[in-house]
């Protein structure tokens, strides 16, 4: 399981960075989304994956004796997903707006700001 996840994270990071390096605006956003998903999975993986041991202390004990699934990474991922969802919806509106105003999808042609005003 860990190995598959590790490979998948690698693929997601690579694909994300590749997409960001393209010149198209839409691919840029897709790249950012993929990269974000890769980061979330990385947190999940590095939080140690444990199956079938919920982090609930039995009534008879005071502390954990068994190994247990760490709830912290899941909370982190949840927060990160919500945040990145907000950012991505903003990004999609932004590129729509950029496409309307600049009338191009090509990042290389977005150079009005580099000229002297």
């Amino acid at each position: 399981m860990e190995v598959i996840l590790a490979i998948m994270i690698g693929v997601l990071y690579a694909a994300g960075i590749y997409m960001i390096l393209r010149r198209s605006l839409v691919k840029l956003i897709l790249g950012i989304i993929i990269l974000g998903n890769g980061a979330n999975l990385l947190i999940f993986l590095l939080g140690r994956i444990v199956k079938g041991h919920p982090p609930i202390i039995p009534g008879s004990a005071e502390v954990f004796h068994d190994l247990y699934a760490d709830p912290v990474p899941q909370a982190l991922i949840l927060t990160a997903i919500v945040i990145s969802f907000g950012l991505q919806s903003f990004a999609i509106i932004l590129i729509k707006r950029a496409y309307k105003v600049v009338k191009t999808d090509d990042l290389d042609e977005m150079n009005a700001i580099d000229q002297d005003s």
Partner: protein
């Protein structure tokens, strides 16, 4: 937000709120000066389990400065930003930005820091695109991409760090990271943090979003960005590299090299620009170099210099961008070549803007001079000749640029340019609006003068912060062994 369509009401609430925030942060600062580091545990979960807010002297100082710049910009933007922009929720978003900044300065939990960073960038995205002009949207695309990328790298770094230590609390991390055997992995994580915060702070190879976007939004927005956004990155760098990743010569060498290149590239970039706000944008980058230089040297004197520079720079950069907004209002252009004759038309105003301009260079009694002494002294002690050279070179080049701007804007005869018919020139504004624009500049100039002439107090303050930062045991104790401190 309750007065969505009533801008006048929003202006009053915004300014009043900022005054209250200054008052509260002065109180916080005074309290911490007397009683030392304070902590708050959210939901009463004991550290290191719950999210904790820590206010040490550095945090309190930065919160105070945020409140001061926030007040100035709130007043300035109520006069200079056009009503159409204000109607789309300018003030609520602006205060969200300040909220995010305060949170980032005060939090003691690394994931919480990430959340505050996201609040900061999402509100800055809205502020930078508000209005939707072509240049703004283009600038925003670049700003957006690189900042999101930095956030993702930050998240990756947190993931690796959590995998290594199983902790998120910064004080706890400080203890646990020091105990890790595998230093290679620690260095790698540190580098990820360096890239993430370096992008936020606009250090050398990672600064390209800044000159592409900072001159596009209204100048009030640029003012708060220039004063505080990059400084959050610097704050995070200082915090992480004095608390969590300590004592690794390799990392400090990398930071020093970054600082040298930042100083050079920012200075040279500013030299060739003609747009006033682009000149100031590159100067931001150049002066970030000073702060990182102090961190790279990593001695107590150098850190004190960094802190002093941080305090001085927040005030001066906010002020400079407000000055550039004022110039734009007066002359209707941002181009240095097309300006001129300010001294003839507004002699008192020219004297006023001389204060932030020459404070930036650091002509001796003014505020930019004192931190450079500390930095140079530390550089000589550590025998880092390249760094010393870069600091002197950057000072010289800043002096040259400011002299050029001063000559071009204030002394040169006014060139003949046609008067724009649909533009509201400064001379035609009402007295209230004029006051609202000039008062914050006067206010920040006075703060700058105080930093310059009361340098002794600021030096004491920054030495105290530096001592606290170098001896991180005190911070760790305040967070982890709260039990003794509860009264």
């Amino acid at each position: 937000m309750f007065f969505w369509n009533r801008i006048e009401m929003q202006k009053i609430i915004s300014i009043a709120g900022s005054v209250i925030s200054v008052a509260v942060s002065v109180w916080l600062f005074a309290y911490i000066w007397e009683h030392g580091t304070q902590t708050v545990q959210a939901g009463n979960w004991k550290a290191p389990f719950g999210i904790i807010f820590v206010a040490d002297t550095l945090s309190a100082t930065l919160v105070l400065l945020t409140a001061i710049s926030g007040l100035a910009v709130a007043s300035f933007s109520s006069a200079s930003v056009v009503a159409a922009r204000l109607r789309f929720g300018y003030f609520p978003i602006f205060h969200f930005l300040l909220l995010g900044l305060n949170g980032a300065f005060l939090t003691g939990d690394i994931f919480n820091l990430y959340v505050w960073f996201e609040i900061i960038i999402i509100s800055s995205f809205v502020l930078i695109t508000l209005g939707g002009e072509k240049a703004q949207v283009e600038g925003a695309v670049k700003y957006f991409t690189l900042n999101i990328l930095a956030s993702t790298i930050f998240l990756t770094a947190i993931a690796v760090l959590y995998g290594l230590t199983g902790a998120l609390n910064m004080a706890d991390l400080s203890v646990k990271v020091a105990a890790i055997e595998n230093r290679g992995l620690v260095e790698l994580t540190a580098l990820l943090f360096l890239i993430a915060f370096g992008t936020k702070a606009a250090a050398f190879p990672l600064y390209f979003w800044l000159p592409a976007s900072y001159h596009t939004p209204p100048s009030a927005v640029s003012a708060i960005f220039a004063g505080l956004l990059t400084k959050v990155g610097v704050y995070a760098l200082i915090r992480v590299f004095t608390l969590i990743f300590v004592g690794d010569a390799f990392l400090y060498n990398i930071i020093s090299v970054m600082a040298i290149l930042t100083l050079f590239s920012g200075g040279l970039g500013a030299l060739v620009q003609n747009n006033l706000r682009k000149v100031f944008s590159y100067l931001i980058i150049c002066h970030i170099g000073y702060m990182i230089a102090g961190l790279g040297l990593f001695t107590e004197v150098a850190i004190a210099g960094t802190i002093f520079y941080l305090i001085h720079d927040i005030v001066v950069k906010t002020n400079l961008f407000m000055v550039s907004g004022l110039m734009y209002r007066i002359r209707g252009t941002n181009s240095v070549q097309a300006m001129g004759g300010l001294y003839k038309d507004y002699p008192k105003l020219s004297l006023l803007i001389a204060i932030p301009l020459f404070s930036l260079v650091g002509i001796p009694p003014l505020s930019g001079f004192w931190p450079k002494i500390s930095l140079l002294k530390a550089g000589f002690t550590a025998q880092q000749w390249w760094l010393v050279g870069a600091i002197i070179f950057a000072s010289l080049i800043t002096l040259f640029i400011i002299a050029k701007v001063w000559a071009g804007v204030v002394w040169k005869d006014k060139p003949k340019i046609e008067v724009k018919s649909n533009f509201r020139y400064f001379a035609n504004l009402s007295d209230l609006k004029k006051t609202q624009m000039i008062a914050p500049i006067v206010f920040l100039s006075l703060v700058s003068l105080y930093i310059g002439f009361g340098a002794e107090h600021i030096q004491q303050l920054s030495s105290r912060i530096a001592t606290e930062l170098m001896d991180n045991q005190q911070y760790v104790d305040a967070v982890l062994h709260k039990v003794q401190n509860i009264k």
